[in-house]
C-alpha cells in the first residue's frame, strides 16, 4: 500500500508538471509572434487544454486504452468508469504505479500537447472556429486511436521487436508535428513572410516570454519523462531525469553553435528551439539511454533543428515558432535513435522504430489532411487579408492583449 501511495504521489506530481507545460507553450507561442495576435493564440491554447481534457474523459482515454482489441481500433466505452472492488471502493490493484484516476489524468495531460504543437505552426493566420473543429477531431479521436497502437497494447506493441516510445517522441510530438506540417502546407505563409521569393524576418514581440516558455517546458519535461516511468522507481526515474536534462542542454548548445557557424550571430531563439529539440529527441528513449547517449542524441537534435528551420523556410513553408523542426523532425530522430543508442539498440529495433514512424506518418498525414482540407474547402481555414494585417485579436475577439501599453509594431 505504501508503495502504491509513493508511486501515485510521484505520478500526480508529474501530472501537474505536464499540465504546467501548457503555460510554457502559451508563453513560447506568443513570445515568437506579433502582439496583434496574442489574445487569439492564448485563446487557442486555453481551448486546447480545456476541451482536450474533456474529450479525453469522454472518449479519448477509452480509445487509447481499449483493453482487449484488434490492435488497430478499439473503444472501451464513453466516459470514465473506475474499477471497483466487491465492496464498491476504488480497486487499487489497477496498477502498482498509480490509481485509475491518476492514469486518466496523467495521460489526459499528454493528449492536449499534440494539438498545442499545431497551434504554434498555424499561428497568426488560422481561423479560430475551424481550428477548434480540427482540435476536437484530432485530439479527440486521432491522437488516442494512434496512441492505442503502442501504449494501448496495439499492433506496434505486438511486433516481434516491439516499437518503443517511452514518453511520446512519436505518439505525441510527431503526431502533432505531422499535423503541423500538413496545416502549414494547406494554410500558406503569413502575408509578408516571403517577398519576391525572399524570406523576410517577422520577429516575435516578446523574447523574454518565449524564454520563460522554454524554461517552463523544460521543467514540465521532468514530469513528462519522469512520469512516463509509470512509477516512482528510484533508479529509472532519476536516470530518466538526468538523460532528459542532459539532452536538453546538449540540444541547446549544439543548436546555438551550429546557428552561430551558419549565420554568424548568437540567436537566442535558436538556442531555445535547440533545447526543445533535445528534449523531444530524448523523449522516445529517456529510460534506455546512458548519459553519454543522451548528450549525443540531444546534440544531434540541436544541430538538426538549425538545418530543418532553414529547409522549411526554403521550401516556402511558414512556421512561426519552428514547431515542425522541433517536434516532427526531432521526434522522428528521437524515435529512430532508440534503435541506435542505449539498451534497446539493435537492427531489429531500428526497423521497428522505422515501422512505427511510417505508421504514424500514415495516420497523421491522412487524417489531418482530410480534416483540414475539408475545412478549407467548406468554411475556409485562413482569415481574410485585412484581418491578418490588422491582427486577429481585434477581429476574432474584439480585444487588446496590451490595452494599457503599446509596443512598437512592425
Amino acid at each position: 500500500m505504501e508503495l502504491l501511495t509513493i508511486n501515485n504521489v510521484w505520478m500526480m506530481i508529474c501530472t501537474a508538471l505536464v499540465f504546467f507545460m501548457h503555460l510554457g507553450f502559451a508563453f513560447l507561442e506568443i513570445g515568437l509572434t506579433r502582439q496583434k495576435n496574442t489574445i487569439n493564440i492564448l485563446f487557442k491554447n486555453i481551448f486546447i487544454i480545456t476541451v482536450g481534457l474533456l474529450l479525453y474523459a469522454l472518449v479519448g482515454f477509452n480509445l487509447m486504452y481499449p483493453g482487449e482489441f484488434n490492435g488497430f481500433l478499439g473503444f472501451a466505452g464513453f466516459g470514465l468508469e473506475s474499477p471497483l472492488t466487491a465492496e464498491g471502493a476504488l480497486d487499487l490493484t489497477y496498477s502498482e504505479g498509480y490509481t485509475y484516476w491518476t492514469d486518466f489524468l496523467f495521460q489526459g495531460m499528454f493528449a492536449a500537447t499534440a494539438a498545442t504543437i499545431v497551434s504554434g505552426a498555424v499561428a497568426e493566420r488560422i481561423k479560430i472556429f475551424p481550428f477548434m473543429i480540427f482540435v476536437i477531431l484530432y485530439v479527440g479521436f486521432i491522437y488516442p486511436i494512434a496512441g492505442s497502437w503502442k501504449w494501448g497494447g496495439g499492433f506496434l506493441q505486438e511486433l516481434e521487436t516491439p516499437f518503443y516510445d517511452f514518453a511520446g517522441s512519436t505518439l505525441v510530438h510527431s503526431v502533432g508535428g505531422w499535423a503541423a506540417l500538413v496545416a502549414v502546407c494547406l494554410l500558406g505563409s503569413r502575408i509578408g513572410k516571403f517577398k519576391n521569393g525572399k524570406i523576410q524576418a517577422i520577429p516575435g514581440h516578446n523574447i523574454p516570454l518565449a524564454t520563460a516558455g522554454v524554461l517552463i517546458l523544460w521543467l514540465g519535461w521532468f514530469g513528462f519523462n519522469g512520469g512516463s516511468v509509470l512509477s516512482a522507481d528510484p533508479g529509472l526515474t532519476s536516470l530518466t531525469l538526468v538523460t532528459t536534462c542532459l539532452a536538453a542542454a546538449a540540444g541547446g548548445v549544439l543548436a546555438s553553435l551550429v546557428s552561430y557557424l551558419k549565420y554568424k550571430n548568437l540567436d537566442l531563439t535558436m538556442f531555445l528551439n535547440g533545447i526543445l529539440g533535445g528534449l523531444v529527441g530524448i523523449t522516445a528513449g529517456a529510460d534506455q539511454m546512458s548519459p553519454t547517449d543522451a548528450i549525443i542524441i540531444g546534440a544531434v537534435a540541436g544541430a538538426i533543428i538549425v538545418f530543418a528551420v532553414s529547409l522549411i523556410d526554403r521550401l516556402k513553408l511558414d512556421d512561426p515558432v519552428g514547431a515542425i523542426a522541433v517536434h516532427l523532425v526531432c521526434g522522428i530522430w528521437g524515435t529512430l535513435a532508440v534503435g541506435i543508442f542505449g539498451e534497446l539498440a539493435s537492427g531489429a529495433q531500428f526497423v521497428s522504430q522505422l515501422i512505427g514512424v511510417v505508421a504514424y506518418a500514415a495516420i497523421c498525414i491522412t487524417s489531418s489532411f482530410i480534416i483540414l482540407f475539408t475545412l478549407k474547402k467548406t468554411v475556409g481555414i485562413r482569415v481574410s487579408e485585412k484581418e491578418e494585417l490588422e491582427g486577429l485579436d481585434g477581429f476574432e475577439h474584439g480585444m487588446d492583449a496590451y490595452p494599457d501599453f503599446r509596443l512598437n509594431e512592425h
Binding site: Q200, A201, I202, S259, Y263, D267, T269, V306, V309, N408
Partner: protein
C-alpha cells in the same frame, strides 16, 4: 515663442537633458519613436539577415521664449552629437500662443 523639436539618439537623452538644464530649460515633453533615416541597423532573426532603417529614437518637444531659442539649440547640438550617421534633427517653428492650465494665464510668462 518657439517650438524646438529634436529627434535624438536614446542613448544621448541624459546628456541632452543635463545640457538643457544648464541653460535653464527644464520644461518639455518627450516620447519614444521609431524613425526612418540614413542610419541602418543590421539584424538577424532565425537565420534571416535584414537591414532596417526603422530605428528607435527619442523625440523631444520644447516650447521656449524667443530669447531661449539660441541657447537651447546650441545645448542640444553640443550634447546630442556623436559624429556618426543617425545623430538626428532639430526643427524650429513658431508658436502662436501658450497657456498655463492651472491658472488660465497666457503669454511668455507661462514658460518661466
Amino acid at each position: 515663442m518657439k517650438k524646438i523639436e529634436a529627434i535624438i539618439r536614446k542613448s544621448k537623452y541624459s546628456a541632452v537633458r543635463n545640457a538643457l538644464h544648464d541653460v535653464g530649460v527644464n520644461f518639455f515633453s518627450y516620447w519614444d519613436v521609431t524613425g526612418l533615416g540614413n542610419e541602418k541597423e543590421g539584424h538577424v532573426y532565425r537565420g534571416v539577415s535584414y537591414s532596417t532603417s526603422d530605428i528607435q529614437r527619442r523625440y523631444i518637444s520644447i516650447v521656449v521664449n524667443d530669447d531661449f531659442e539660441e541657447p537651447t539649440i546650441k545645448a542640444i547640438l553640443d550634447s546630442a552629437v556623436t559624429g556618426d550617421v543617425g545623430d538626428g534633427k532639430i526643427f524650429v517653428s513658431d508658436v502662436k500662443e501658450c497657456y498655463r492650465i492651472r491658472t488660465g494665464e497666457k503669454g511668455g510668462n507661462t514658460l518661466k
